[in-house]
């Protein structure tokens, strides 16, 4: 259940917003001032921060908001105005608030705001969902879907031991053998609404509703040797589709702003439509020696150049203009991912995950060894964060590739 941190000094208003949020299916955390809110943010990292313009004491709401955004740059912030003032609302938007709410509050006014904010939390910043509001389901359809879901849950529980083989290699990690041998890129991406339509559902945020569950992303893996990108179903990781690239296969991939971006084996960036063939619509030479990984932080695309030992930050324009280049403080950056508050890289030489300061990526905040990659049995290639766990892919000499869900969670590294 998405968590909303409500920071309102007045207890009655705070309770009013809490009740509203809970009625809409969100978990509500409460704080009456900045220090207590900061404590909650650091401990639990809610999905959305909702704070009132009337902020007790110093600093002001705007200053406090800015300082929070420096520490949690990808946390959506909604500001509650004391009165309806469009000019004031625009000022807060310019400071980085996602949106503002004016009194009186109701589910009609607050609901859309929270829905959009919860969807944005994470690595994909897309203010607009392409889909129109879907037609309401008939009662019969709802009953059928509910019945099917119950059966599915019962089936999963009873057939748990028959899931696609997962080898438990540590106390909570899990490993899957892939049907191909050289996985080099990993990303969570959209699923098609229905096979045959050729259209993808836009990526949506985590949702506890059946609709949200249906929209949850698939796992996409690039395999340079078979010149393909593979899409796996999130529920059981079964292979759903393979996209073959006859010329210049992809080595790494990332979803950003409604498109798929890849870097090819020969060092070219390509932008793909999210259609049935992943049609490439642009292609240009990537900077640097050997780009091994791509990651999207919600605003910028990042690449890790294992040859030059640098991380690059790219503007999301047609040429992926390089905004900055940062020397990698670890060994060999094989992949990069974001968890909403920090950058993480998969270091192939240290066989570890490195946590970087998002505002100063040259600084390593923490390191977590990955025992699965120690001893060089596997070469790590891709990294993704699914909101709860890190996933990586690895190559093994003479054997099939592997997909690993790691026991380590970002929370352990805070």
């Amino acid at each position: 259940m998405p968590q909303i941190l409500i920071v309102i000094a007045d207890p009655y208003s705070r309770q009013e917003m809490t009740v509203l949020a809970e009625q809409m299916g969100y978990g509500a955390l409460q704080a009456k001032d900045g220090p207590s809110a900061l404590e909650i943010l650091r401990e639990t990292l809610p999905d959305v921060l909702l704070l009132h313009e009337e902020f007790p004491g110093a600093p002001s709401c705007a200053s406090w908001m800015r300082s929070v955004q420096q520490e949690f740059p990808l946390l959506p912030v909604i500001v509650c105005l004391k009165s309806r003032d469009a000019g004031r609302a625009v000022d807060f938007l310019k400071l980085g608030a996602l949106d503002c709410l004016a009194p009186p509050w109701s589910q009609e006014t607050v609901g859309p705001c929270l829905r959009k904010a919860v969807r944005l939390k994470g690595t994909h910043l897309d203010l607009l969902m392409d889909e129109r509001r879907p037609p309401a389901l008939s009662r019969k359809a709802v009953a059928l879907v509910a019945g099917a879901l119950l059966l599915l849950v019962a089936g999963v529980i009873s057939l748990r031991s028959y899931r696609w083989p997962a080898e438990e290699i540590s106390h909570a990690s899990a490993l899957w053998d892939l049907p191909y041998s050289h996985p080099s890129g990993l990303a969570a991406g959209p699923r098609p609404r229905a096979e045959g339509t050729g259209r993808m559902e836009p990526q949506s945020g985590v949702s506890s509703s059946a609709e949200g569950a249906a929209a949850k992303g698939s796992i996409w893996i690039a395999d340079w040797f078979s010149q393909s990108i593979y899409r796996h179903r999130p529920s059981d990781l079964k292979l759903e589709k393979a996209y073959f690239f006859a010329h210049d296969p992809p080595a790494a991939l990332a979803f950003a702003e409604g498109a798929l971006w890849t870097v090819t084996v020969s060092g070219f960036f390509q932008k793909h439509l999210l259609d049935a063939q992943l049609t490439a619509v642009s292609r240009f030479k990537a900077p640097g020696a050997q780009i091994a990984g791509l990651g999207y932080d919600g605003i910028y695309l990042w690449s890790c150049d294992v040859g030059a030992g640098v991380l690059r930050k790219h503007l999301m324009d047609n040429q992926l203009t390089v905004l900055s280049e940062i020397s990698y403080a670890g060994g060999k950056p094989a992949a990069v991912a974001f968890d909403g508050t920090a950058m993480w890289t998969l270091d192939a030489s240290r066989s570890a995950l490195l946590k970087h300061d998002l505002l100063s990526p040259g600084k390593i905040l923490a390191e977590a060894p990955l025992p699965e990659y120690q001893g060089n049995a596997w070469t790590p290639g891709g990294l993704l964060w699914d909101g709860k766990n890190f996933w990586t892919v690895g190559e093994r000499k003479g054997k099939t590739g592997v997909l690993i869900r790691h026991a380590l969670s970002a929370g352990e590294m805070r």
């Binding site: 469009a86 000019g87 609302a89 625009v90 938007l93 310019k94 949106d99 503002c100 006014t109 609901g111 859309p112 705001c113 829905r115 959009k116 969807r119 203010l127 607009l128 969902m129 889909e131 129109r132 509001r133 879907p134 702003e257 619509v281 503007l315 999301m316 324009d317 047609n318 040429q319 203009t321």
Partner: protein, 113 residues
């Protein structure tokens, strides 16, 4: 693939909108902006065909830019997305100049004929 007629800027610009002097106003974001039009994302419901936008593009301010509402649709979150056409020639020219300046610095170029 058909290319766009006008160069576009894709940024989520905060914008203040009003339906006229003393009329309803609100706020939102411009999802994209070109010299001829824009897409406005807002929770407010626009009741007229004409809307006036105020926003800043880098250091340049555009005040009460008169636009015509060409399209409206609601997204799944409950926000409204309005397709707007800029109704003032002088504003279009100014906007085009500013957008070209921004985009040429970012490495993008060219307006298709």
């Amino acid at each position: 693939m058909r290319r766009r007629r006008s160069v576009r800027l894709n940024q989520y610009l905060p914008v203040l909108w009003t339906l006229g002097e003393g009329a309803q106003n609100g706020w939102g974001r411009l999802l994209d902006l070109s010299a001829v039009g824009a897409r406005l994302l807002t929770r407010g419901v626009l009741t007229g065909e004409e809307i006036f936008l105020s926003f800043e593009l880098e250091t340049e301010k555009f005040n009460k830019l008169r636009c015509r509402v060409a399209r409206a649709e609601q997204d799944r979150d409950g926000y409204w997305v309005y397709g707007l056409e800029i109704a003032e020639d002088a504003a279009r020219a100014r906007l085009k100049q500013r957008l070209m300046s921004i985009l040429s610095r970012a490495g993008q170029a060219g307006i298709d004929g």
